[in-house]
């Protein structure tokens, strides 16, 4: 099955008996049917049918969130990424080459969380291979308004989703594009934000891309204070929200290149805020 997310095509090979729509429901709006004569270059290929066990690697990253426990190992040909749902003990793995072009995954399909694990693996594969090209996977909520996109960043629990929900409540003609993991692409010197199949707890899977109006880092505060950021401050505001394997020097450099461009060419702000309408108006109107 092929999907097109942020205008990049990737392919997922599943066991022949798998029901794709049940397994990857959030990917349905992104299904890509190619015409015979055109050959789209693939961003990556993830094959769940030809995994083979590998030698031990070196653990380079470990993280746990409500989606699961993920470990990343450096191995000779690239990376092995292991994933386990926090409520299950089944361990799943994928092996990617250094470029994240060809990925082989071993999914234990009997795990009741297999679908979520596959979804997480695809998110990692997508964000790393996107870095190789012209984009970034970023933790953010994304709102469309007047044909442009506003992104809200912040540490987990800061209230990105709450702030986005307040936009929907108070701003006419605003629309949620994604609530957790949109993609950014820089094309012809314009930064765009795209909806993706990864949207956290909010089921919002929109196959839309819009020019970015503004990126705001949010922080909870007892009062609403807005400050525009430039240069290094803007760069530093973006970096912690981006999905990257930090130990991968090459991908990290690519990320820094793109963030440098964004810091210089995009409206980036820092908003200390309350969860209220005033915060939304301040964010929307200070531009």
């Amino acid at each position: 099955m092929r999907y097109k997310v942020a205008n990049h095509v990737f392919e997922v090979i599943l066991p022949s008996e798998a029901n794709t729509e049940l397994l990857l429901p959030s990917f349905c709006p992104f299904i890509y049917i190619s015409k015979d004569e055109e050959i789209e270059p693939l961003l990556f290929l993830l094959d769940t049918t030809t995994y083979y066990p590998q030698e031990e690697g070196v653990l380079i990253e470990e993280s746990e969130n409500d989606m699961g426990h993920i470990t990343i190992w450096k191995i000779e040909q690239g990376y092995r990424i292991e994933a386990r749902h926090i409520l299950a003990n089944k361990r799943h793995a994928m092996i990617a080459d250094k470029e994240f072009r060809t990925i082989r995954a071993s999914i234990q399909w009997e795990d009741e969380y297999a679908s979520q694990i596959l979804c997480s693996m695809l998110r990692i594969a997508f964000s790393q291979s996107l870095l190789r090209e012209d984009g970034i996977g970023i933790h953010a909520s994304a709102i469309a308004h007047n044909g442009k996109c506003f992104l809200f960043l912040g540490k987990s629990g800061t209230g990105k989703s709450t702030h986005a929900a307040l936009w929907l409540q108070h701003i006419e003609k605003s629309e949620l594009i994604n609530d957790d993991n949109p993609a950014i692409r820089i094309q012809d010197n314009i930064a765009y934000a795209y909806g993706t199949p990864w949207s956290g707890k909010t089921p919002c899977y929109k196959n839309i891309g819009l020019p970015i109006a503004k990126i705001t880092r949010l922080q909870q505060a007892p009062a609403n204070i807005h400050r525009r950021l430039s240069d290094i401050e803007a760069f530093t505001a973006l970096l912690p929200s981006c999905s990257v394997i930090k130990q991968d020097k090459r991908l990290y450099e690519k990320l820094c290149d793109k963030l440098t461009w964004l810091a210089e060419h995009t409206h980036i702000a820092y908003l200390q805020c309350l969860p209220d309408k005033e915060a939304v108006m301040l964010n929307k109107e200070t531009i």
């Binding site: 290094i232 970096l239 912690p240 210089e264």
Partner: protein, 90 residues
């Protein structure tokens, strides 16, 4: 002295920075800011061995400073770079 491998000096707006990628803690980022003078010295000596005297000479050639001022500035800069792990002093 020599600079740590694989550090990239970036110009952003009219400022300079080095982003250290090998921070252990997730989501902790070390961004080291440099002014134009420091950036010039970094560019001159990156990826090779150098001495304090060589740095002072560059400053004296490029800017209107006394030997004493330059030495003082370079000493402070070296301390700073060592404390941020940007250079090795061997």
């Amino acid at each position: 002295m020599r600079t740590k491998e694989d550090l990239t000096l970036r110009k952003i707006g009219n400022k300079y920075m080095i982003v250290d990628t090998l921070t252990e803690e997730i989501n902790m980022v070390d961004v080291y800011t440099m002014n134009e003078t420091a950036a010039l010295l970094w560019k001159t000596f990156n990826k090779r061995n150098f001495t304090q005297e060589e740095m002072v000479n560059v400053l004296c050639n490029e800017y209107e400073v006394t030997q004493e001022q330059a030495t003082n500035d370079v000493e402070n800069l070296i301390k700073d770079w060592i404390s941020y792990g940007l250079i090795y002093n061997d």
